[in-house]
């Protein structure tokens, strides 16, 4: 605000010096310029004040990369990176703090696992009971391939069976069909 006042005072002093009775328009220009500068300075100082009381600067992308791999415990289907809940905000703060302490992403994830269990991880660990989550798509594909293979094998055997019909059998079948047609 001191800066703004100084701007105004300087502008008005300029205006006083430059004002002549001959040209009132020209005499008002420095005063108008002083007001404009003052308004701009006022807005700028307001913006600075706003910035100083606003939220802290954004956290590093690495914080969000780690937070993205962790669930927000109080949310439905949101990661700690996406949620604005108090717990998720605190989780991001803890991640940033631990990164600043030189901890690795794995160590930070382990910090949360120690408090929430493996549930907190979006990707279940590839060990123990959770292994089935990783292998079930492969098992599903295997079962699908087996079913498909058996179906195709059965279809092929039916087709091969039709090719193996002897000429005599075909002639007999045709004769039987034609006799049935004549009877009608």
């Amino acid at each position: 605000m001191i800066q703004v006042t100084v701007f105004f005072q300087a502008g008005f002093k300029m205006a006083e010096r430059k004002t002549t009775p001959r040209d009132s328009l020209v005499s008002w220009l420095p005063r108008a310029a002083a007001i404009a500068v003052g308004v701009v300075a006022l807005l700028f100082s307001g913006a600075l004040a706003q910035a100083s009381v606003g939220p802290p600067p954004d956290l590093s992308p690495e914080v969000f990369q780690i937070a993205k791999t962790l669930r927000c415990p109080v949310c439905q289907g949101e990661s700690a990176a996406e949620s604005n809940s108090g717990v998720a905000t605190e989780m991001r703060r803890i991640i940033a703090e631990q990164l600043a302490q030189g901890k690795t992403a794995g160590e930070i994830r382990q910090f949360f696992v120690a408090r929430y269990g493996d549930w907190i991880l979006y990707e279940p660990p590839k060990r123990g009971l959770t292994l089935w989550v990783w292998f079930s798509p492969l098992v599903g594909l295997g079962v699908l391939a087996l079913v498909l293979w058996r179906y195709l094998a059965a279809a092929r055997s039916r087709s091969v069976g039709a090719d193996n019909v002897s000429t005599e059998e075909l002639e007999r079948a045709e004769a039987s069909l034609s006799s049935k047609t004549e009877d009608q």
Binding site: V74, V87, E90, R93, F112, R115, G117, R150
Partner: protein, 173 residues
């Protein structure tokens, strides 16, 4: 292929049956059960400072008697409002044998809440929610039980009724 259908149905049925076996859906398993209770030091809310001082450090009170740590927030309606009278009643019944400490995340609204329900046990203020993370909190209200050996002995998510408080506290008495 048809001979495998009973096996598939059996496997899916078994999985369903296994999933339904959890006795209490609100008693979420906590990895902290059996582990030392994380310590915390938090500012005591204004009405309790005369009796409890400016700040409350959990470790100073551990080992003497079991501790109930209840985490709530005044914005959590109706769950926390449903639980508050039962929490007060449980404190009245067990105050000689169990220490109750309640953590709130919003002091200003918290004072209104405290006045509304006449809560007599110490309340502390956790502005960042750090303690919630340390205790693996899933939501509010949430109640944790610490035994005389300073270890987490139980946890319940969602509001507790009188029977729920009795059942939880009896684990450590």
């Amino acid at each position: 292929m048809r001979r495998f259908w009973p096996l598939i149905v059996l496997a899916l049925g078994g999985l369903f049956w296994w999933g339904m076996q959890r006795p209490d859906m609100n008693a979420l398993p906590s990895v902290l059960i059996g582990r030392p209770a994380p310590d915390f030091t938090l500012p005591v809310m204004f009405p309790y400072r005369a009796s409890w001082g400016q700040s409350f450090q959990l470790s100073k009170h551990l080992g003497k008697k079991p501790v109930i740590v209840n985490i709530w927030a005044s914005w959590c309606k109706p769950a926390c409002y449903d639980e508050a009278p039962h929490l007060q009643a449980a404190w009245q019944e067990y105050q000689d044998r169990v220490l109750f400490i309640v953590i709130d995340a919003q002091e200003q609204d918290g004072l209104t809440f405290i006045r509304l329900f006449g809560l007599a046990f110490p309340q502390v203020f956790d502005p960042l929610g750090t303690v919630g993370v340390d205790y693996g909190m899933y939501g509010v209200p949430e109640t944790l039980l610490i035994n005389r050996e300073d270890r987490v002995a139980g946890r319940h998510a969602d509001p507790l009724d009188p029977a729920g408080f009795d059942k939880l506290i009896q684990k450590v008495l």
